[in-house]
Amino acid sequence: MSEENSPAQRVAIGISFGNSYSSIGFTSAEGKAEVIANEEGDRQIPSILSYVDGEEFQGTQAKAQLVRNAKNTVAYFRDFLGQEFKSIDPTPCHQSAHPVQHESTIAFKIKDGADETENTVTVSEITTRHLRRLKNSASDYLGKDVNAAVITVPTNFGDTQKEALTKAAKEAGIEVLQFINEPVAAVLAYDARPEAKLSDKIVVVADLGGIRSDVAVIASRGGIYTILATAHDYDVAGTQLDKVLMDHFAKEFMKKHKTGGDPRENDRSLAKLKLESEAVKKALSIGASANFSVESLANGIDYTATINRSRYELLASKHFQAFTRLVTHAVEKAELDPLDISEIILAGGSAHTPRIASSLQSAFPETTTVLAPSTSPTALNPSELAVRGAAIQASLVQEFDVEDIVQSTHPMVTVTPHLSHAVGVLCISDSEESGVFQSIVDAETPLPVRRTAIISTPREGGDVLIKLTEGARHIKVTKPEPKPKAEKTKSDSDDEDSDEDSEEEEEIREKTWKVGKVLAEAALKELKKGAKVEVQINIDANLNVNCIFREVGGKGGVRGLLAGGKGQNGSA
């Protein structure tokens, strides 16, 4: 990269470049991520380019061309970038310019000049043009020439694809500072809100896109994110929902107008049907009913119809279920239980659909918060999550040298040992013998880590024993017949039950801890009445544990060191 910009003159934005829609965002001086609207006022810019008599259209204007000028309109090309022809799925492009093999890459044959000749334009050239338009929109909005960006990519975006995207972006005059994974960008977007509190949690990011869906299970530990599992599905996506509506309206149309014929058999009718179905789907996410109206749908017959939300939900229930299954499957893949999940973030355009959020909510226990516009009034716009995350990351890394960014994202830095078991202390419970495990550092926390806990003491003060142990999470399933036992734990994170989505006898599922290996014991003597104990645990990358126990507000305290020494058995 010869024309690297020095960090001082860099103007960096976040770009979310999707198959169906792209967005651009920046972080304002107050540190708030904002999504930029393009000249047409769109914040979700369709990733579509269309050419009419040598003039280039992008976004909504290009999308309208799908009806009249489908052959010179390029859409759904993101996933083709850096791929070979044999490994792509051209189905989404059925109603636009078709991809063809060109040397080792993929190209489109379109008339992009003023003359009538057909040119072969590679997918990387198309991407460059698209990114250039995005860049210009951002530059116009900011009044500064944008020259760098953080771009979000799916978790399964390969190195060659990233390389191709870097190249295409460079052609467009954008220096790619970093690629970040879409689900992580979504988590970052939520965590960067000023009201967000830093906590240890497991988050599922479900990204329902236009032509693919991605689910990622992410452990968020003190603001550091680790992807535990991912699932991808190319069959459960927004276009499938469109398809349901298209089929529905096509059938209704044929019923009403016997002479009309099947609008799905004519290219233009199909395109009109598709555009309007998408609009209806979006309307149904907001209102309880929506109006479908297309002029001259087929054979010159105008068609108008209304559909209400429950009808739509009935028609598409198969897809909604498939989506819920996809999410639960990803959780299973991460070897976790639905009880472990504290948040589900819905991202992507189809996440607006209320039914998806509600069916996810019912599939997961009540302790799991589903962050979607229909379930949570404070939720961010799901379509903007990725770009917000990218914009925040762009503002964070924009002052760094490229060299610094590369080094920081190097596996040397990112590959980190993660705790396999939670570490905590034993507290008193009703049975004095066993004690109850209270987690201080959760499993899957990247090392090194430092955590502090404040623990109560017996009311009368005096001497206390602090037992540091490992703990394993255990799902306790209780049948309801013998009345539910008195809850063993009172901690707010532990007393939860979930109703299974099945109609069977309801089991009570609880998250409990099994006490594992005892790590250390320490004593704090002569505590005051009602004093609290502070425990600080430092675990370094070699599993050495450094702990400090002291009375809050008191002096001294007890320090101890546990040598980790990978593989050894001795203890210090």
Binding site: P448, I455, K490, A520, A523
Partner: protein
């Protein structure tokens, strides 16, 4: 990260529990799993920083805090202002301010014309704190405020942009002597001359001033550089060296005289300076290896073009010669062929003549065989005459080939009717071809 709050109480220490320093290590953590953390978010950046610099949490907290604090404290850093003071400098009298080195007085010898206004202010404050007469009095030294006055004067000059320029114009300490030819031959041409031009560039009205560059500079850069220096637009003035103008109102003539003198001196110095700079650039240009290189390259280019042209011409000439040769050869061949053909045709003509003679004989013989077309008995002389005449006419009218054909038809035919028929056919053919008229050959007309 906020600390974890645990509301359950800790157990009471069992009787008889004891350990050294109240801490007993028992177990060890289970093996960790290696995973990739996502390089995203502020907390990751902190993690990366710790990992790359091998800091622990508390170290990192401290260092980060320090760097944050530093940004605020930056202003107090006065390391750039020199503390060393030449004893000679300290003994200066304020009345000689014109000859003093203002930068040296403020400890800015290193910075000179590069010193920012901010720096001058800071230096002034620093020096004042040190040399204030009250301070000297406090430590019991003699009350000597001369150097303090020098400092004040220096600040006064340097903080006034107009006067500072006047001083900078004649600031000898900022000048860099151009290197001699010998010095630059050791390979440090660019370094030495670069410094000279950097120093001279301070007088330029046009910014930025192009750099001398190095041996890798392009022709365009080099040309740009010399063009800039040959058209140098300088703000250098020599007012600072003016003679003091007497400011008493009594002697107006004297005053005007001095003023005029000063004007002239300034103009003269300015002209001298322009000439000096011109010579400087000339000298540098003469020593600049790059110019030679470019000239050579150009020459080589020209030569190449000329050689190419010559080669082309040569090639053309050769081609022309070759073509000519080929033409001659072709001609000779053609001539030879023509000659041979001529000889051949002569022979053939003779042969044809002979054949024609023979044929004629045959034809005439045939007429005789046909009894001169007389129906029976000896043909009368008139009949013989007309028949022979007609046959001769036919022979004269037809060419050799037709004659041969006719002969071939007649050959071996003895029957008078047949022969006559053949002749009649021939006549008919001739009539059809328009070579003769019907009735001309009476004896043969049917």
């Amino acid at each position: 990260m906020a600390s974890v709050q645990i509301s359950l109480p800790l157990p009471v220490l069992p009787e008889g529990w004891s350990a050294e320093k109240d801490f007993k290590a028992i177990g060890q953590l289970s093996q960790a799993t290696d995973r990739n953390i996502e390089p995203v978010g502020p907390h990751f950046l902190a993690h990366a920083r710790r990992k790359r610099h091998k800091r622990t949490f508390s170290e990192d907290d401290r260092i980060q805090a320090q760097t944050n604090v530093k940004k605020v404290e930056d202003d107090d850093d006065l390391g750039e202002i020199s503390d060393d003071e030449d004893p000679l400098l300290l003994q200066r009298e304020a009345k000689d301010w014109k000859s003093q080195d203002h930068y040296a007085v403020l400890g800015l010898s290193k910075h000179r014309y590069n010193a920012s206004e901010d720096l001058i202010k800071k230096a002034h404050r620093k020096k004042v704190l040190k040399h204030h007469p009250d301070k000297k009095a406090a430590i019991g030294a003699a009350e000597d405020d001369q150097f303090f006055k020098c400092i004040q004067k220096a600040t006064e000059v340097l903080l006034d942009p107009v006067r500072r320029r006047q001083f900078d114009s004649v600031d000898e300490a900022a000048e860099v002597e151009p290197p001699s030819k010998k010095e630059t031959q050791k390979g440090n041409f660019y370094k030495m001359w670069g410094k000279v031009f950097e120093a001279e560039g301070r007088f330029s009205n046009n910014k930025p001033v192009p750099k001398l560059g190095n041996e890798k500079s392009t022709k365009e850069e080099v040309e740009n550089f010399y063009n800039f220096w040959y058209n140098f637009d300088s703000w250098r003035t020599f007012e600072y060296l003016d003679e003091d103008v007497p400011d008493d109102n009594e002697n107006r003539d004297q005053k005007r005289h001095v003023e005029r003198k000063n004007q002239n001196a300034r103009r003269k110095k300015k002209t001298e300076d322009t000439a000096r700079l011109r010579k400087l650039v000339d000298d540098c240009l003469a020593l600049d290896e790059r110019i030679k290189k470019f000239r050579q390259e150009e020459h080589a280019q020209k030569n190449k073009r000329r050689l190419e042209k010559e080669a082309e011409q040569k090639r053309l000439a050769e081609e022309a010669a070759k073509a000519k040769e080929e033409e001659a050869k072709r001609k000779a061949e053609q001539e030879a062929a023509e000659k041979a053909a001529k000889a051949d045709s002569k022979k053939a003509k003779e042969a044809a003549k002979n054949a024609a003679k023979k044929n004629k004989r045959v034809v005439r013989g045939a007429v005789k065989d046909a009894n001169y077309f007389h129906s029976a008995g000896d043909a009368p002389a008139a009949q013989i005459d007309s028949a022979l005449n007609d046959v001769d006419t036919i022979i004269a009218k037809i060419d050799n080939e037709e004659l041969a054909a006719l002969t071939a038809k007649l050959n071996g035919k003895k029957d008078a009717g047949e022969i006559k028929q053949i002749f009649q056919d021939e006549v008919k053919r001739l009539v059809d071809a328009g070579k003769t008229k019907e009735g001309e050959l009476k004896s043969l007309s049917a």
